[in-house]
Symmetry: C2
Subunit: 76 residues, 2 copies
DNA sequence: CCACATTTGTCCGTATGTATC
DNA sequence: AGATACATACGGACAAATGTG
């Protein structure tokens, strides 16, 4: 049984929080440094998480503001 | 007008090649080091490209073998 | 089965740019 | 002007799977 890498576990957790409604559209995710501290990983791992979640259309990042949960099922 | 980052340009190019049929399901993409040399970027950039393309379901990587174009529209 | 090269996967540390507050 | 915060990129290191000889 393969071990799950950090970036995937974190992505899974955030994805589940979004799908379960714990995190709703418009909600702001914790900052990158906050997530780094919380999970004990580097910024690269968090970047991988956000890259994945963005590609899936679940979140969108804004420089200087933060990363926000998108309205699910909305592409524009 | 924003400049397009490397990882996004490379991802766009590969994505277009897949959607246009230039790269077909089952085709093997060039190796990571090959792409690094070709585009003059680091492995991290290529990793970001593959992470994005994988999240989009366009390709799938296999350790020791390579990255292959997936049958589009097939989830399993 | 073992040794080796190849290739993808994962992670760390650091630096710089740009946008927001 | 400064602090905060996301975005991009480089370099280095090690693990795991595969194919070849």
């Amino acid at each position: 049984m393969p071990i799950t890498p950090f970036y995937q576990r974190i992505a899974d957790e955030i994805r589940e929080r979004i799908k379960s409604g714990d995190l709703r559209p418009g909600d702001k995710l914790p900052s990158t440094s906050e997530l780094c501290t919380r999970y004990g990983v580097s910024t690269q791992v968090i970047r991988s998480v956000m890259l994945t979640l963005r590609a899936e259309g679940l979140v969108e990042g804004h420089q200087g503001r933060g990363v926000y949960v998108r309205d699910q099922g909305v592409t524009g």
